[in-house]
Structure formats: structure tokens, C-alpha cells
Symmetry: C2
Subunit: 488 residues, 2 copies
């Protein structure tokens, strides 16, 4: 087998020790790697690079396309960027993959049967960080969900399930409320699931799903989640598994992937041969599967499970009566190496499906990115938002009605999603953030509206002295409205 | 004591039985109530009222301002509205209050020590349901967080803590990512907390907080959460407490409040004297505290706790070896009544602070709604969003640069929150949803921009044939930018 080039960063704190232990184990297991070592973390930050990664690292990553990364220490004080955010945004790492496994009875947990993998969408949702304060009272964040972004993550989750011998993929959304954004995520899930008839699929509303996951995680296998739900629930799942210190994670892009432990650099434990290398090691196992070295991954992972079961434990999980032998970082690695070829007896052995393609390359090659060719879009109106604090909804309705014209007519005003004109409820609290909905002046509305008409309408608002703060066009897609209505 | 007028709805399924049991207990405990019974639910839906509530009910609610509501059955098929959403939106019920308590060792739970109250903001966040699809690929939901909305909910949480003898209020946000919206929620929490020096306060980033809550709920007391986090985590908390069938909930508005069980109408159990009335009963206890009948609430609640501990259980929680006596709905109510005046011996007894004001009236009287008088807003630019799918970021940058003028100048283009012009990364995937940022043409930007200039800029876009889909003004508040920057 040709050696797989990978980029390796030893990081800070306990990083060098656990990286050493990790590489020793996987090489002993037969991994064929050609490592290119780069500098990241504290030294690089303090040398004046706010991203915490040396510039030549990007060349290395573009060449190897695989990054095994130890934890780093971010220096105190402002001005530093998150290394993970930089790498994620630069290379479009769209999937965060986090297995959350309990190792009962060898590691303490309230959930003895738990083996869940969270596949979190990692680029969209409210994490675009697109925010505005536009009135004295109201702030806004844009939540964006795209079809190509959703197709990529859902397809990745199913490919991951297939390559890792998983049986089921579960999707959580809140599409009973967010029918358009979360509705798109759910719809794409339903479209792609039938392409994987060997994998079971299901969908839950996120509140009920989260309750089930935190109470009976044994009922879940692979989960695919929009960014925010994935952020919260991957932390919940790792915590209740009792395995935060034992968990690895992958960040997958269409060309580059990064593998790491989910814990930090623990500077106070550094250099003492104490740290548990298991989190980074399990990240490295995911890397081996990703690069197609599935046999090596299986061999190393099963030896590690056997070591856990034999009670050979580092200080962080050592427990009198359960553990047999307290060992240091190096000795733990030796114990795993000594067990290569063995399988666990109580815990379930892992098996990884061999294949030419990793989950990721399958994903990128078959993802459709783009609109359906058939989609026909027509702009049929515009919502004009105002900063206004000078009276009642009825007074505003009266004044704005007079701006109708130029092909557009005011039909309703709402405040924080509740209709307040015409015929609002007296109890509704109105903030200074008002939405005025205009549609085509044609009888019954429904006609097309031009961009020139929208610009003219805004000129009228400006002339009348109104502080319009934002606009949102109303569009039909294939004759169906692509916008929600206010609650009446 | 003058009788408190309340509106009562017996609902569907097991509703009439559990309402009967609930009213019997609290009246025996000394509640002074004048009940006005209204019709809600299945019959009302099927009689042609899509909101599931008879029109005269609104008059009753406006008069009594207190609603004790049994569960209802929503008929199969479309066209029906959620009764709870209708009541919440009509009357501005801004707070959802849900105690999640475990009753170990009398009811099975993995979390023996758990007594958490979730106070969920109930009107804002992504639940305004303001959504748009504006390109073939991208959908958008607006997340709105307002200062008055946040002040109301945070103040309510602290008032609730004080009136219910609670020690700590915890806030969760994601303000490391959403610095403007969640940042406002966190900031208001920090502003209001010092007004309650008798109550401890703390803040966690929601992912870490959720992990702690689901693993060690014993470390939490009252939580105040934005709408989405509250939705997900109140279901998680109720589930892991093991008490979904025993939980009540309150929905609080500035003039009207609604109290209920969190479970449904369980039509298959109806009319058999089987159902557990505890959820509705605990909702009614919250109602008594809310209306100032704290002594009655305490008496009834403690007798109920004693009944639980004495092992007098309905079928749903009856367990051989733990329970002593399996009883029906009526007998359970009799058992609680027989214990009025007694306190639990193993479980912690409750105590409610007597006071003239309920948490709610205190809240509404002291809430500042409005901007700080000092806030000075200046519009300094505009983001114009395009639906465009005809080339690269550089090509778009070249074309849009030519539209600069009328006092506004293109400074950058981003796609899904990542800067792509000038000097983007080649790896960045670009959807058909582009943001073009314009600021004042003055050297260095920073100058004021007029609404007429923005309208003129859009006219130029229209003339050049670009499909602009939305705009967002860029505003400074007291000289500080009220908008985020794209990730570079």
C-alpha cells in the first residue's frame, strides 16, 4: 500500500505526549503514513500570527488533505482567532463528526448502552454570524439553510453510516415551526434517505428528539443535525456517555479533513507522562477509516477496547475496584500495542467496511449542488421593515397606506411575527421593529413586481421620512409562496 | 379573602376527570375561587372554529385573567390551529414556566436529586416564524431578540425565584457566536441580576450548560433561556426527571396567565377513573401562587408530596415494591385531601413566600420597555443581498463595483458569512446567495448614509438587471457598529 501523506501538529500542553502515543499505536497496527509536521498553537500565536497556524501549514494541508491535530493553548487576551474556525472556514469543513460511546462497566456512566455518532452540519444555520442591530430595541441574526449545504451533510451522514457498519440515521429539526428553513433540511433528508435502502431512517422534532436522546441514547445510532442543534446535542451526548476525555472528532470538507480529540491541552498535566491519549487516538482511528486504511483502524480500535476492558487505565478514568492497573501515557500506548490482534470480550468489537472510497469522496462526487432546473422564481412583493416608535399600529397603518402606489399596495403590518394591522389585538406588545408587507397592486395581488418598483417604493418611504431598516423580497417558486405569513 | 375569578376548561379525553380531581383538592385546601367554565377542544374545533376555543372565551379570559386548562384533543386533518399558540399570541404570554422535579425513590429516575424550573422566553427568537426562500438554493429564518422582550423574561425569572424561595437563576446563551442577539440577552441578564442580591446568578454557553444540565441537574435551580434553547431543554429536563406525567406548566403574560399539565388528553384512558391528575394539579398549584394564595398552594402541594411518598399511586407510576396502593383518579384526590395539613418526610417540603404581588405583576410594573434615551443611531451603510449564479466571486465583485456611487461604495462580498471578495479563498463553496456590503463613499467610510441614497443604489442594481433579494441597513449605535463582520 502506498503511504498516505498526512499533516501532523503536536500542539501544546499534553499535545506532544498524546500525539506521540497515538502515532506509535497506529504505526504498530500497520498504518502507512508519511507525516509532515507543522507548528500550531501558543508559540505561533505569540509569534504574531493571530490565527495560531504558520502560513506554510496551508500549503501542507492543501497537499496532504488530512490533518491530525493535537489540542492547543490559546494565549490569554484578545485579538486571537479560533484555529478551528479558521481552518473550518478556509477549507469548508462542512461536517463535524463526533462518536459518543459509553464503556460500561469499565468507565462510569448513567447510560450503560450508548454508541451514538453525531454528524453536525458545520457551516450554516445561525453560525454564519450575520447579525444586525437596527432599532433601539431589536437585534436580528440570520439563520441560513441551503439546499447544497444540506445535501452535503445528509449524504455524508448516510455514507458514514454505510462505511462504519451503522444501521440507522436519525434527523432532528423543528420544522413544525420553521417550515421553510428546517422544512428544507427535513425535505432533503427524506429525498436522500431512499438512496440508502440498507440504512434505516427516522425524523424527530428536535425538542422531543433531544429528550429521548438524553434519556434513552441506546435507541439512537447516527444522528444528522443542523448546526445549532448539533452543537448543543453533541455536547450533551458526549457528557452523558461519560466519555468526554475519551472522545475524538472529525471535521470533514470536500477536499480536506481534520481529526482531533474533543478535550483541551491541559497544560497542568503536561510533560508528566500522565495524560490519556485515547481522545486523539480515536480521532486517528477515524482518520484511518477516512483514508481507506480500514483494516488498520479495526485492529487498533479493537486492541484499545481490549485495553480498556483489561482495566489498564490512565489516572483520569482509573477507579479502585474497576481498574486493574494505573498507567502513564507511554505505558498505556504500550498496553494497546501489546494487544494488537486481540478483540474485546465484553465490549462490542468494531468492524469497518473496506472500500475504495471513503464516505467523504463518495459524498463530494455524487452531491448535486444547485437548484432544480425546473424551479421558476417570481418576485411578487416586498416586506419593508421600519424603525418606528411614534404611535399605534393603526396610526402606522394609516400613514404607510398612503405610500402604496408604483405597482405595490400595503396589505398588512406585523410586529415580532404577530399581525397588528389591520385588526390587531389590543393586548399585543409592539416593539419599535415593524414589518410592512406590500404586494402587487393588481386586484387580488399575485402579480409580478419589478425591482425598479421596489426601489421606487423605498424612495417614497425615504421622502416621507420613514427609517426603513431592511427589506425582504417575497418570491413564489413554481407558483408556491416562498415566505411565511404572520400569526393572526 | 375575596374569591379569585378564574376561567376553567375541562378539555377532552381524561381532561374532565383530572380537572374535577384538581379542583376538589385545591378547594378542600382552602382555595377561594369563582370559576367560569368555557368550552375548548375537539367539539369546538368540529363546530367550525379553527382555533378550538369558543369566541366568548376571550371575554372570560379578559375578565378573570387566569386560565386553568385541561388537555385537549386536536381533530385529525389540517386547517386547525394550535390553541396554545392562539392564546399565547393573542394575549402575549411571554413566559413559559416548567418545573422539572424528580421524586426519588418514589418515582423512577436516573437523577435522584433534581428540582429545576425552566423559564422559557415564549415570543421571540426563531419562533416569530418569519421565513423567506429567496434563491433557488437558500432559505432564511429571522431570529429576533429584543431588549423589552428580554427584560420581561429575565425579570420574571428573578421574581419567580424570589416568590418561590429559590436560590439561583442560571442563564444559557450562545453569545460567543451570536454576539449581538444572544449578546443582548446575556447583557440584559447581567444588568438585571444585581437588582436581586438575594439570588445567586450564573451564565453558561448553551452547549456546555446543556451538557451539565443533562448530566448533573442537581446543580441547577431556576433557568432563564431564550425561546429555542428553552424549548429543547425544557423537554430534556422533564424527561430525565422521569416526571413528564407529573409536570405542570404556566404561561405568563403581562395581564393573563394560563396553567396546565404538560401531557396530552390520552383519549384511550378517558372515563375509566384511571388518569393521574398530578400534572394539572401541579399547574393549579402554580396558579394559586400566581394569584397570591400561597398558603393554600403550600398546603395542597405538601399533601400531594406526602401522598406520593406514602406510595398511593395511580397506574402510570405504580411500581411493585415501591408503591403501596394502586388507586384511581378519584381515590388519588381523596388521598391527597386526607393528607392536607401534613408534610412529606423524605421529600423536601415546599414553601411559598406570601406577598401582595405575584411575580408577574411585579414584573410588568417595573419593566422598562424602550430604548435607553441616550442611544444615538446613525445609518452608515447597507448590505444588498443578491440571487446570482452566473460566475465567480471575482466576476461579481467587478460587476458590482461599477454600481458604487450615489454616496455608497462596495467594500466586500460574502457568501454564507464567509468573505469571498476581495481576496477570498479558492476552497470556499459559493451558494447563489451573495451579500454585497456598501458604506459611505467618504474616505475611510464611517459617514452617514441617507435612505434616499439607499433607494438610489437599489435603482442602480435594478437598472443593471441584478436580482436583489433583500437589504439590511448598517447602523452605528452611540458610535459603535451594530453589525457583524464576515469571517475572512
Amino acid at each position: 500500500m502506498a503511504k498516505t501523506p498526512i499533516t501532523v501538529a503536536y500542539g501544546d500542553g499534553i499535545g506532544p505526549e498524546i500525539m506521540d502515543a497515538t502515532l506509535r499505536i497506529i504505526e504498530a497496527a500497520g498504518a502507512e503514513l508519511e507525516t509532515d509536521v507543522i507548528e500550531i498553537g501558543e508559540k505561533v500565536y505569540l509569534a504574531g500570527n493571530p490565527a495560531g497556524i504558520e502560513p506554510r501549514a496551508f500549503e501542507s494541508l492543501r497537499r496532504t488533505k488530512v490533518f491530525l491535530k493535537a489540542p492547543i493553548t490559546t494565549p490569554q487576551g484578545g485579538g486571537y482567532k479560533s484555529l478551528n474556525v479558521t481552518v473550518r472556514k478556509t477549507f469548508g469543513l462542512y461536517a463535524n463528526v463526533r462518536p459518543c460511546v459509553s464503556y460500561h462497566p469499565f468507565v462510569e456512566t448513567k447510560h450503560p448502552v450508548m454508541d451514538v455518532v453525531i454528524v453536525r452540519e458545520n457551516e450554516e444555520d445561525v453560525y454564519g454570524g450575520i447579525e444586525y442591530r437596527q432599532t433601539g430595541q431589536v437585534t436580528q441574526c440570520l439563520k441560513l439553510i441551503s439546499r447544497p449545504g444540506t445535501e452535503k451533510i445528509v449524504r455524508y451522514a448516510f455514507e458514514y453510516a454505510r462505511h462504519n457498519n451503522r444501521k440507522k440515521v436519525t434527523c432532528f429539526t423543528k420544522d413544525n415551526i420553521m417550515k421553510i428553513t428546517d422544512g428544507l433540511f427535513h425535505k432533503v433528508f427524506e429525498e436522500i434517505a431512499p438512496e440508502y435502502p440498507d440504512i434505516e431512517n427516522e425524523h424527530w422534532i428536535v425538542d422531543i428528539g433531544a429528550a429521548k436522546l438524553s434519556d434513552t441514547p441506546e435507541n439512537f445510532d447516527v444522528l444528522v443535525l443542523p448546526n445549532l442543534y448539533g452543537d448543543v446535542l453533541s455536547d450533551v451526548a458526549a457528557q452523558i456517555a461519560g466519555s468526554v476525555g475519551l472522545a475524538g472528532s472529525a471535521n470533514i470538507g470536500s477536499s480536506i479533513a481534520m481529526f482531533e480529540a474533543i478535550h483541551g491541552s491541559a497544560p497542568r498535566r503536561a510533560g508528566q507522562n500522565l495524560a490519556n491519549p485515547s481522545g486523539l487516538f480515536l480521532g486517528a482511528v477515524m482518520m484511518l477509516v477516512h483514508t481507506g486504511q480500514t483494516e488498520v483502524a479495526e485492529r487498533a480500535h479493537n486492541a484499545w477496547l481490549r485495553t480498556m476492558e483489561d482495566g489498564v487505565h490512565t489516572y483520569d478514568i482509573y477507579k479502585e475496584g474497576v481498574s486493574k492497573e494505573k498507567v502513564g501515557t507511554r505505558e498505556f500506548a504500550d498496553a494497546v500495542i501489546a494487544r494488537l490482534g486481540q478483540k474485546p470480550e465484553t465490549l462490542k468489537a468494531v468492524s469497518y467496511r473496506a472500500g475504495e472510497e471513503s464516505a467523504d469522496s463518495a459524498s463530494s462526487s455524487s452531491t448535486k449542488t444547485g437548484t432544480d432546473a425546473s424551479t421558476n422564481k417570481e418576485t411578487v412583493g416586498v416586506d419593508v421593515y421600519l424603525d418606528w416608535n411614534s404611535g399605534s399600529a393603526d396610526e402606522l397603518g394609516g400613514a404607510i397606506s398612503k405610500l402604496s402606489g408604483v405597482g405595490l399596495r400595503l396589505t398588512s403590518i406585523s410586529n415580532r411575527g404577530v399581525k397588528v394591522w389591520p385588526e390587531g389585538h389590543t393586548e399585543t406588545f409592539c416593539s419599535d421593529h415593524w414589518r410592512c408587507r406590500f404586494v402587487s397592486e393588481q386586484a387580488g395581488g399575485g402579480g409580478a413586481v419589478t425591482h425598479a418598483q421596489i426601489a421606487q417604493l423605498l424612495a417614497r418611504f425615504a421622502e416621507a421620512g420613514f427609517d426603513f431598516i431592511k427589506t425582504e423580497n417575497l418570491c413564489d417558486f413554481d407558483g408556491k409562496p416562498g415566505y411565511s405569513h404572520a400569526q393572526e
